[in-house]
């Protein structure tokens, strides 16, 4: 079946080319058909290949297909080869399946927009580059997908380009992710010079023999790859671009900034797990970053009033969980949480998009309310999504993935009580802001009237996603619920087992604790924002709390810091040096020669007697040179 592999990325690419070149001339119907159709076709193809992969796992556990040799210089010859193993199968499945649903949703959502063709072209290009990223067999091809994805996020964030703030947000996203990409590029160089090749399977095979555990080179390489991951997955130092990226249309936020692109970092770290295992310090850093990000993003989400920014911060926080899991060595748990998170976060974004469009572009949650009975389908799907996000035990899929990470935070070899406590606190805050969001948008009295009711094409994807948000969790039950761990058995072909501390038991106790914390969070949010809103008023009056609120609201002040530290100085230097100080040097030389000219032309005074004096001086000079030397 591997000869069909190239068709998966080929469909969206063809879609992109057709729409980009002929977009103007096609009718809206045909644009929708090509746009959504191409991704759905590759989704179907993924099912077929996935089914054949699962049923008869191929020799060596992967399909691979070489298209052509991209480049061949001295010992450096990367080829365009697609490589499908269990890990990339999961990612391809998520990308194509959720991508197809989102495309179908956006057929209706973007119906009113005039740049219909351009939207679908960019979305198809995005799916193509994301597929290339996950199917790449060597790091250079991965880097191609990596930058292609960055480009599409730039194009789509700045989709409504009339408004310059969207342009600014798009540029900000591209440049910050570019920071990470350059670090990753340097990582590629280091890896190339260590192993002589960029092909991932060879690297993973050579790494243990070339580097001993904890070698400085391994740490440097791992750190650089981590930097690339942080840039793309909007983790701690480089996370300021994601909240601004909400300027793009909602399907874009759903596909790119929730489900697929932001998890590219997780994929990279999971794919190159051997390098991370070889340098424990970096693994600790990954866990630390994950923990810190989930807390910071959680608190910021608590204070946002724009529904999409709440979801953006919640995405950052959930990816923080994934990084935490990766840091702990719980590779399969991270990927599992990625899959589940993709489902319910895409659902939440799409539903939020529907809500925003229903209230004709009203983003402020405090101005929404009482949509429970006006938009029943949206309400129920949004409820399931939030339940899964808040990790309501047993019924929601979110519980199973997050609980695993909580358990490994405590039980895994690298785990430690502090990490577990942070994760628990994170779970509490997640529950709080999810319920706050639910309460503010759907309960209470309606503040803005519903203008537009979402059509069938928008509700079906929501229902499908809601179904998965509920039942996708059952393929990986916790250990004490019986040994039904389908997902991790599949992934263990690629990723190593998570090593637990010796003699750890009582998983049930931790689950109960997590349950308690989640319900506590829900109850607290319910009280504060629904039952007794006057408590909030009381809190608002105290000045320190208000400053804390503003601090959290601005994403812990990272934006201002970067503005002062980096953006202002560079812009200042650029504008100071607008007309090139080096040019002054040459202007200086010309003015010097002109002054010399004026001095000399002064000697041409025109009077004969001056000429004679000149001649005599010349004669004296010559005679003196003659006689002296």
């Amino acid at each position: 079946m591997d000869y069909l592999l190239w068709l998966i990325p080929a469909f969206p690419l063809v879609g992109f080319i057709v729409l980009a070149l002929l977009g103007k001339h096609l009718s809206r119907f045909w644009i929708a058909i090509i746009g959504a159709g191409s991704v759905s076709l590759s989704a179907i193809l993924t099912f077929v290949i996935g089914f054949s992969f699962l049923s008869s796992t191929p020799t060596g556990g992967h399909y691979s297909q070489t298209l052509w040799t991209w480049l061949e210089v001295a010992a450096f010859n990367p080829k365009i080869t697609l490589y499908l193993d269990a890990l990339s199968l999961v990612f391809v499945f998520v990308i194509t399946f959720i991508g197809a649903l989102i495309h179908i949703y956006s057929v209706a959502f973007m119906a009113a927009d005039k740049d219909y063709a351009r939207f679908f072209a960019c979305m198809n290009l995005f799916v193509f580059s994301m597929l290339l990223l996950v199917l790449a067999d060597n790091l250079l091809l991965l880097y191609l997908g990596w930058e292609g994805v960055g480009l599409c996020s730039y194009l789509l964030i700045g989709f409504w380009y009339e408004n310059p703030t969207n342009g600014y947000a798009a540029r900000k996203a591209f440049i910050i992710t570019r920071l990470g990409d350059t670090a990753m590029a340097i990582g590629l160089f280091v890896i190339f010079y260590q192993f002589g090749t960029l092909v991932i399977p060879d690297i993973l095979a050579l790494a243990p023999s070339t580097w001993h555990e904890g070698a400085t080179i391994a740490t440097v390489a791992a750190l650089l790859l981590l930097a690339g991951g942080i840039g793309k997955s909007a983790q701690l130092p480089l996370q300021t671009w994601l909240p601004d990226a909400m300027a793009g249309p909602s399907p874009v936020s759903a596909l790119i900034h929730a489900a697929t692109m932001v998890t590219a970092g997780v994929y990279l770290i999971a794919r190159m797990h051997v390098i991370f295992q070889l340098s424990p310090i970096v693994q600790m850093i990954v866990a630390g970053i994950g923990a810190a990000t989930l807390l910071i993003a959680g608190f910021s989400a608590l204070t946002q009033y724009d529904i999409k920014r709440v979801l953006a911060y919640s995405t950052i926080s959930q990816i923080g969980y994934m990084f935490l899991a990766l840091g702990l060595g719980a590779w399969t748990a991270a990927i599992f949480h990625f899959m589940i998170h993709a489902f319910f976060k895409a659902l939440l974004f799409l539903a939020a998009g529907a809500v925003i469009e229903a209230l004709n572009h009203e983003h402020n949650m405090f101005k929404m309310g009482g949509l429970k009975n006006k938009l029943p389908v949206i309400f129920w799907t949004f409820l399931i999504g939030s339940a899964s996000l808040a990790a309501l035990p047993i019924i929601s899929a979110g519980f199973y993935s997050k609980d695993q990470i909580l358990w490994y935070a405590w039980a895994s070899e690298h785990g430690s009580p502090i990490l577990w406590l942070i994760a628990l606190l994170g779970a509490f805050i997640t529950a709080a802001y999810t319920t706050r969001m639910m309460v503010l948008t759907f309960w209470g009295d309606a503040k803005t009237s519903v203008g537009h009711y979402p059509g069938k094409l928008m509700t079906i994807p929501l229902i499908v996603l809601a179904f998965f948000s509920l039942f996708a969790g059952f393929i990986e039950l916790p250990h004490n619920f019986g040994q039904f761990t389908l997902f991790s058995n599949l992934l263990h072909q690629v990723l190593p087992e998570t090593v637990l501390k010796a003699g750890i038991h009582g998983e049930l106790l931790f689950q109960l604790l997590a349950l308690l914390v989640t319900f506590g969070g829900i109850y607290l949010a319910y009280i504060f924002w629904y039952k007794q809103p006057q408590r909030i008023e009381k809190l608002k009056r105290s000045a320190p709390l208000m400053s804390l609120y503003r601090f959290w609201f601005s994403g812990w002040g990272f934006d201002q810091v970067y503005q002062v530290l980096f953006v202002k100085p560079i812009v200042f230097i650029a504008n100071i040096n607008k007309n090139d100080v080096v040019d002054k040097l040459y202007q200086g030389i010309t003015t010097a020669t002109v002054h010399l000219y004026r001095l000399l032309s002064f000697t041409q005074s025109g009077s004969l007697r001056w000429y004679i004096i000149g001649l005599v001086i010349g004669a004296i000079l010559i005679l003196s040179i003659q006689l002296m030397l």
Partner: protein, 103 residues
């Protein structure tokens, strides 16, 4: 009668005459006097030639002096013709009037 004049004395005289001529050209404002002092310089050179000739007891020095005389005469005649024209145009023989071309 008394000892023959040594060659250094004559050269010294020629040198002094030469420097006098230079000074004359530089100081005097009237063109005629400039020409006159140039004549002095030429004669100084002629004197030096005659002295050199006598030093080597060859007639060449004096032949050269005759050439210098003829050249000086030619040069002065052309000079005076020019001076006539200057006087017609500028009504004065002051060299500092002729300063239009400069820079």
């Amino acid at each position: 009668m008394n000892a023959p004049i040594s060659i250094e004395m004559v050269m010294l005289l020629a040198g002094i005459l030469f420097i006098l001529g230079i000074a004359g050209v530089i100081i005097r404002k009237n063109i005629i006097f400039m020409l006159l002092s140039v004549e002095i310089m030429l004669n100084a050179a002629g004197l030096a030639f005659v002295a050199a000739g006598s030093r080597w007891a060859q007639p060449d020095g004096q032949v050269m002096f005759i050439f210098i005389l003829t050249m000086a005469a030619a040069e002065v005649s052309v000079g005076l013709a020019l001076i006539l024209r200057i006087y017609h145009q500028h009504k004065s023989l002051d060299i500092d009037k002729l300063k239009e071309m400069k820079g």
